[in-house]
Subunit: 328 residues, 2 copies
């Protein structure tokens, strides 16, 4: 029997989940749920049904895992604990500082209702977190580095768009190559914010806007840009559409550590991602963990979990025998 997946929210991430479900033969789409008018939502797949989110309770026995595709700022803090009362749920909650609080709320709700919940699934948090954990457990005497990019930061792009005189904009976060190379060489550098990443902005100015002022306003913006070396490129709307409409991202998790009686041997563990589509890749991770949630729920394992708590074999459609034979 297929694993029946429900999708709540049909933005970039929800559409990515719709694609990912199609790629997994042991899954089927039970429905797309939206807070908008369902008539305004266009599914990507033939035959996919769209329902208003307030009808979710009717699907209690028709959905094995509900994947929550809302945002971490306001949607997920409410939705995940709420829907964990009725469904096994997965989210991609990514506000690192609030994870302990979110975990506690979801855990309580899921345990009280005998459901399995997995939070903070994606690539960071998610695959990057896993790699930090594995590398730390193996190389106990070492140093961690995470670099992001080259990729589009939605938050920074939004910040640029709010600058007076800006019609539209995209911001790329770019790791500083010389710092990345120093880390890979085992030099264990101490890196300031400025030394780790640069920021590249592609800006469409409104007609008659003061470009020098826009550039200065961006570069001096506290929190977002003032601690970085920022480049501002003015382009026209057509070029923005043609060359900057994608949502690529990626990054690097590196741990450098020492072994030997006198720490004489150095080791570098590196994990990297180069993603053409940030939301579609995140969706693929969500769907793999939905398989895990389904199986854990069948085993009666209730409560909130993270990627740290889930044995890798639960993610794969292959059996233990097949995994040992083909991938070990």
């Amino acid at each position: 029997m297929s694993i029946r997946i429900g999708i709540l929210g049909h933005g970039n991430l929800g559409r990515g989940v719709e694609c990912a479900v199609m790629q997994n033969k042991d899954m089927e789409l039970a429905g797309i749920f939206t807070r908008r008018d369902p008539a305004d939502v266009s599914p990507l797949t033939d035959g996919a049904r769209v329902y208003p989110s307030d009808k979710l309770a009717d699907f209690k026995d028709k959905i094995d895992v509900l994947i929550l595709c809302g945002g971490s700022a306001t949607d997920l803090p409410l939705q995940t604990p709420e829907y964990a009362k009725m469904f096994n749920v997965i989210d991609s909650f990514d506000t690192h500082a609030n994870i302990p609080d979110h975990f506690a709320k979801v855990d309580k709700s899921a345990k009280e209702n005998g459901k399995t919940a997995i939070i903070s699934v994606g690539w960071d948090p998610g695959m990057f977190s896993l790699n930090r954990l594995y590398a730390n457990a193996i190389l106990t005497d070492g140093k961690d580095y995470t670099f992001w990019g080259k990729g589009v930061s939605q938050g920074h792009s939004d910040a640029v768009r709010r600058v007076e005189g800006v019609a539209d904009a995209k911001q790329y976060t770019v790791p500083v190559k010389s710092s990345l190379d120093a880390v890979r060489n085992g030099e264990n550098p101490e890196l300031s914010t400025r030394e780790k990443h640069t920021r590249e902005c592609f800006v469409v100015a409104k007609d008659g806007a003061d470009k020098a002022k826009i550039e200065n306003d961006i570069k001096t913006m506290p929190n977002y840009f003032s601690d970085y070396d920022t480049t501002v490129n003015f382009i026209d709307a057509e070029e923005l559409r043609k060359n900057h409409s994608g949502i690529p991202h990626g990054g690097f998790v590196i741990r450098s550590g020492k072994t030997g009686m006198n720490g004489e041997h150095n080791h570098i563990i590196e994990y990297s991602l180069k993603l053409d589509s940030n939301p579609e890749f995140t969706a693929c991770v969500l769907v793999a963990y939905a398989r895990a949630a389904y199986r854990l729920s069948k085993e009666g394992s209730a409560g909130c979990k993270t990627v740290f708590d889930i044995a890798p074999a639960y993610l794969s459609a292959l059996s233990g025998e097949e995994l040992r034979k083909n991938l070990l």
Copy 2:
């Protein structure tokens, strides 16, 4: 209470485990066991005791996890099923083709005796396997690549040493950079054996030996060298000692995959290791999984497992709360 680790076998790997136990504050060394005369074994750590391996039965209640540091050809196929009758055990069994058979034997023995066994722990099999599994579960439509090196291959070095006229030798396996770059660029090349790796030999010839014949004998050796582009460098014993006495290794696991309604987005997941000491790094992985075996045993989880079956959190000395706060 500390986790009490026993080490069976005190070659390069056993010595690496001895170092690794020292780096982990929640562990202590219960003893080193050897088939040699204990007087011939020199522990690295002050106060470490060496015992003959036939006394292991006396340590049934004094060792929480026994780490088996023998070879995969003849030692582990017998030792792991045998010692899983008395101890929780970890091995680094790496003969990929025989893993299913080894698993079955160890599983039977461990289950019958209520012990936890984890086999094929290290970096390949081990961390590389994990990365193959995660990447396959996430990118279901994709292609896998594993490259090894640059690093010393013990088996190939031994093969060169058996060539007539060779006094000593080291062999390095080296990934072909252009192929690695093509994979990283998402070109999904079909690569022959020759296109993936080259082999570099550093050879000390015996006095008066025919070097041209040695070079030809190496390059045409079936299985080991004839399918590769091989370089043979003749050096003297002093240079071999000075520049080629280390045991570095490493490699790359890459999965390239597609997402989107028409496979229009490409993604690259890459995991790489650059290791100054192959046995010391392998030892660190063994010790992290020994912690997992100890915990699983406490939970009553008997039988044979691999890295696929173990939730990452079991490897870390940190609590779930600490992991979620600091590494997620």
